[in-house]
């Protein structure tokens, strides 16, 4: 019998993007969207029942698009009936997405699924409830051979080697997770989650443009893409123009101020979360936390955000030193991969033996 190859995968399931990092060198992401063909014609056009990734955005007119994660969690509430269609749809689409990610991990290897032992660590939002964590675990177990769930900001901290005297601020699309690290496993008291994140910025930006440019015709997706390419709250940034259709004809609009206002909208909650965690920390070590705030996640790429948070911390906390991770998009998945590889073999057996 041929020995199966062990493939370690770090998985970050995000509201907007799901990212994987594997120890065979594969690192990639998919938009967290699943598309179901609307009718027989679109099913024939796609040649399959499910569509993923950029294809969903490109052909969304012929697909029913479903987003399995909301505010960083599986779209199931604590009191949702497990037999309801909404529950089934959420589980099914999350499973399909994770299966697609696993396929991407082994695609380049060239072998079949049975040639591999897929071992994964999946990052869950800091304050995901037990029901949500269980649901993610069940989905992951059906796709991977060995699975463990960890808190997402903890995975980022582990990947960076910042296991003590550090504050991780993971700015995603659905949530901003803030976690303080002090040499032990973070508990609920060590973590704060705010829901004013990337999606909130998109909404604020959209509403500001709607108010100012009443003739223009646009969607939230359009302004989201524009924001991702141009987000800047620095005072020295360039003037930013967006082209929006007005009665079918593209017209250029100056949106510099609106974009700044929208991007800045998430800062007060982030700083309040940081302040809360520092204030409730041992006073002897508060300074260490203040000088080791690390930004991660897609939202950390907003130009000028680092300085803005530092200025707020100076004003409200007397001091603040903020750094940004090198690879904001992959920080969570990289940390999860490192956990996966560091986990001793006997621990994997211990976990899988208890199923």
């Amino acid at each position: 019998m041929t020995k199966r190859k062990i493939l370690n995968i770090g998985i970050d399931l995000g509201t907007s993007r799901s990212v994987i990092a594997c120890d065979n060198g594969i690192r990639t992401y998919l938009p967290s969207l699943v598309g179901y063909p609307k009718d027989a014609v679109s099913r024939k056009m796609f040649g399959r029942d499910l569509v993923f990734g950029e294809e969903v955005l490109k052909h969304r007119m012929s697909l029913n698009v479903y987003r399995p994660f909301d505010k960083g969690m599986l779209k199931i509430s604590q009191d949702m009936d497990e037999k309801s269609p909404e529950y089934a749809r959420a589980i099914e689409s999350a499973k399909a997405l994770m299966k697609r990610l696993a396929e991407l991990a082994i695609e380049e290897e060239g072998g079949q699924r049975d040639d591999f032992v897929l071992r994964g660590v999946v990052g869950a939002p800091a304050l995901a409830n037990r029901k949500n964590k269980k649901a993610i675990l069940e989905i992951a177990v059906s796709v991977l051979d060995d699975v463990m769930i960890v808190s997402e900001p903890f995975a980022v901290a582990y990947g960076l080697g910042l296991l003590t005297n550090a504050m991780i601020v993971d700015i995603g699309a659905g949530t901003v997770d803030i976690c303080r690290m002090h040499g032990t496993m973070p508990t609920e008291d060590d973590q704060v989650t705010t829901t004013k994140a990337g999606d909130y910025v998109d909404q604020v930006f959209y509403e500001l443009l709607l108010k100012k440019y009443t003739d223009a015709n646009f969607t939230v997706n359009m302004v989201k893409r524009f924001k991702e390419e141009n987000s800047n709250i620095s005072e020295h940034g360039d003037t930013v123009f967006i082209e929006l259709p007005v009665k079918g004809k593209p017209v250029k609009y100056d949106v510099t101020e609106e974009l700044k206002i929208a991007c800045r909208a998430i800062v007060p909650d982030i700083v309040e979360g940081i302040r809360k965690l520092i204030a409730s920390f041992d006073p002897e070590f508060q300074l260490y936390l203040k000088e080791n705030v690390v930004l991660a996640g897609g939202g950390s790429q907003i130009i000028g955000l680092k300085k803005e948070i530092e200025d707020h911390m100076m004003a409200n906390l007397g001091y603040g030193k903020v750094t940004k991770v090198e690879e904001p998009l992959y920080a969570g998945a990289n940390g999860a991969l490192m956990l996966c590889k560091d986990m001793p073999e006997e621990y994997w057996h211990e976990v899988s033996g208890k199923e």
């Binding site: 060198g25 037990r130 769930i149 001793p344 621990y347 211990e350």
Partner: protein, 158 residues
């Protein structure tokens, strides 16, 4: 008191002066005559010579030019045959340079990939790829053990 009296030159002085001037004129004239003789004489002598020999020189020059041209053309053709045209030479070396660059790029990519694998504990040895034995700190082991307990609880929980 200034001596305002002019001394008048004598007749003999005048005669001498005239004689001198006449002598100069004579010399000049004879020089011109001699020059004229030489010029005409050389014309008489050299012109026919040139007429006679120029065609020969012309033909010789042409002949030499043709010979040299012929030799050059022959050499050029044989060089072209053995080494190709100058453009072909250039293509030969440029093509080799491009192939070398492509190989260099592949080697750099392989180096980067090996570096990535080594960073994640995989060493390339003569026998093949080998996973480096990793020693985890007690702190990290504690974290990992906690993760395992939490995951077991999650599975066991109803």
């Amino acid at each position: 008191m200034e001596d305002k009296t002019r001394r008048c030159p004598g007749k003999s002085t005048l005669a001498l002066g005239d004689t001198f001037e006449y002598s100069i004129a004579s010399i000049e004239y004879s020089g011109l005559v001699i020059y004229s003789f030489i010029k005409r004489g050389s014309e008489v002598f050299f012109q026919p010579m040139v007429k006679v020999t120029a065609p020969a020189w012309y033909k010789t020059g042409n002949f030499a030019g043709n010979m040299a041209g012929g030799i050059y053309r022959k050499a050029h053709e044989s060089l072209k045959k053995s080494l190709g045209s100058v453009k072909g030479l250039k293509r030969l070396f440029t093509g080799k340079e491009e192939r070398l660059m492509a190989i260099e790029q592949k080697l750099t990519a392989m180096d980067t990939r090996l570096g990535y694998l080594e960073r994640h504990g995989v060493m390339a040895t003569k026998e093949g790829l080998r996973v480096k034995g990793k020693k985890l700190t007690d702190e990290k082991m504690m974290f990992l053990k906690t993760i395992v307990s939490e995951n077991i609880d999650l599975r066991v929980e109803e």
